[in-house]
């Protein structure tokens, strides 16, 4: 399997993607941002379609759109009760734009399919380096802002009254989330990004009692799903994202059963 360049590329990129999704997912779950993650994946699709339209690599279009839109959502949803409708409005606009750019770019349906569902086989060496570089940036930002981010994510009231700059933390997290969404889309596609960004962390929280352990287990679940998904995709020639989604959902169901038993 590893004699093929595309499989080596897929495993390297997939491993880095799983690591950042496992880490970011912990904060996505703690900040109840699963819906925003789903929306950012749709916005990523629009960005990729714009990239195709403009003749750019799809990931650059995704980065541009997800970062801008995450800042807009952040500004619009300063009041928490307004967050869901703000996200819905931004999502509606960007999906419409995605359809428009795909239509204008005169590309056939396969480009839309690869954006939506991922195309692990098509990852080149230079894209692997880009994914690795962006993953390292994401991990470094999380490392440096970890304490403030953890405080604001797990005890937002305490963070605010104790002087954490919660608006700044929120914006940094949204940008990091946008970067992660754009990177993760390369493997699982924009439609299924939220699988890796939410389910491993959501499952992990039922098995452990500390944030560090939750993060470790979340990374483990994300890597397990990605590696197994890539291997099964190689064996069967079925879509990798199908296997990753199925494995992560299975882990989540086991976690729920474990939580009920505990």
């Amino acid at each position: 399997m590893f004699s093929f360049d595309f499989m080596r590329h897929a495993f390297v990129a997939g491993t880095f993607i799983a690591i950042i999704c496992g880490v970011i997912g912990v904060f996505v779950i703690a900040r109840s941002m699963s819906f925003l993650t789903h929306t950012l994946s749709e916005i990523g699709f629009a960005g990729a379609a714009f990239g195709v339209f403009a003749g750019w690599p799809a990931i650059n279009g995704m980065l541009l759109f997800t970062i801008i839109s995450s800042m807009i959502v952040g500004q619009m949803s300063v009041k928490e009760e307004r967050r869901e409708s703000a996200i819905t409005a931004v999502s509606a606009l960007f999906i419409g734009l995605g359809i428009l750019f795909l239509s204008l770019s005169n590309q056939n349906a396969s480009s839309a399919t690869s954006i939506l569902f991922g195309s692990v086989i098509g990852i080149s060496q230079s894209e692997v380096w880009q994914i690795v570089g962006l993953s390292i940036v994401v991990l470094l930002v999380i490392l440096v802002s970890y304490r403030s981010l953890k405080f604001d994510s797990f005890d937002s009231v305490g963070a605010r009254v104790n002087g954490v700059k919660v608006n700044l933390v929120s914006i940094i997290f949204l940008v990091v989330l946008a970067l992660s969404v754009s990177v993760a889309a390369q493997i699982v596609g924009s439609l299924l990004i939220f699988i890796l960004l939410t389910l491993p962390a959501a499952s992990a929280k039922y098995f452990v009692h500390s944030v560090a352990k939750m993060m470790t287990l979340s990374i483990g679940f994300a890597i397990l799903g990605t590696w197994c998904g890539l291997y099964l995709g190689y064996l069967t020639n079925w879509p990798v994202s199908f296997f990753i989604a199925s494995i992560e959902v299975l882990i989540y169901c086991v976690a729920l059963l474990y939580a009920r038993k505990a």
Partner: protein
Amino acid sequence: MDDKTVSAIKTNSTGDVTINKILTIKHLTLAYGDKRVIQDLNFDLTKGSFTVILGENGVGKTTLIRALLGQLKPQTGTIEFENEQQTVKLGYVPQFRNVDEEYPLTIREFVALNLYHGLTPWLKRQERGRVDWAIKQTNLTQIENRPLGQASGGEKQRAYLAQALIERPNLLILDESTASLDVGMKYELLELVRRLQAEQTLSVLFVTHDLPLAKQFADHFLLMEHDHYQTGKIEDLKITKAGEGHV
């Protein structure tokens, strides 16, 4: 005059007797837009005292605390913290928390959240020592590795208190911290606060509606009413509404 009041009184260089204050509020008016919530409040907080803030809902107790925390600017008047050469550090235990019970967060981890200034994800030895100290002070050592979601109401309040103590404040503000506790736990928590007040030379501002509790633990009061404010020693507190245990 109790011991704490005596210790807060000293003689200045000219021989005049002065009260050692940690907080002075002069002619304070607070408002949200056009709506005035507090008007012309004057209040001194004696260093080392346990002062209770009493008043019905809507009189501006939480608004006053927001101003003390620097979250709301006075429309007029001043709030001055003074503590000789030392900086006044505030510790605040808010009324409401939204910590999800399913979060995998131990009591120790929750307390350590307030050490958020460092750039490393892990705590340094000196920081771990501060967590140990705060946990010990609030009698949480035995259960420090228990998930916060599994702690009882009283244990949670002690964890909130420990988190506020970790920066070693000299002024502790408790916003209705006993409201959701049963009688036994209320007394247990306030006994703990009173011990900390004595041992750590803390000044305490405690917001509550519970008059018997206030009379039991506080030595000074600030009674806030819609049209005026009263301050003084707790034994001088007169509530005109007969037979009420709550204000």
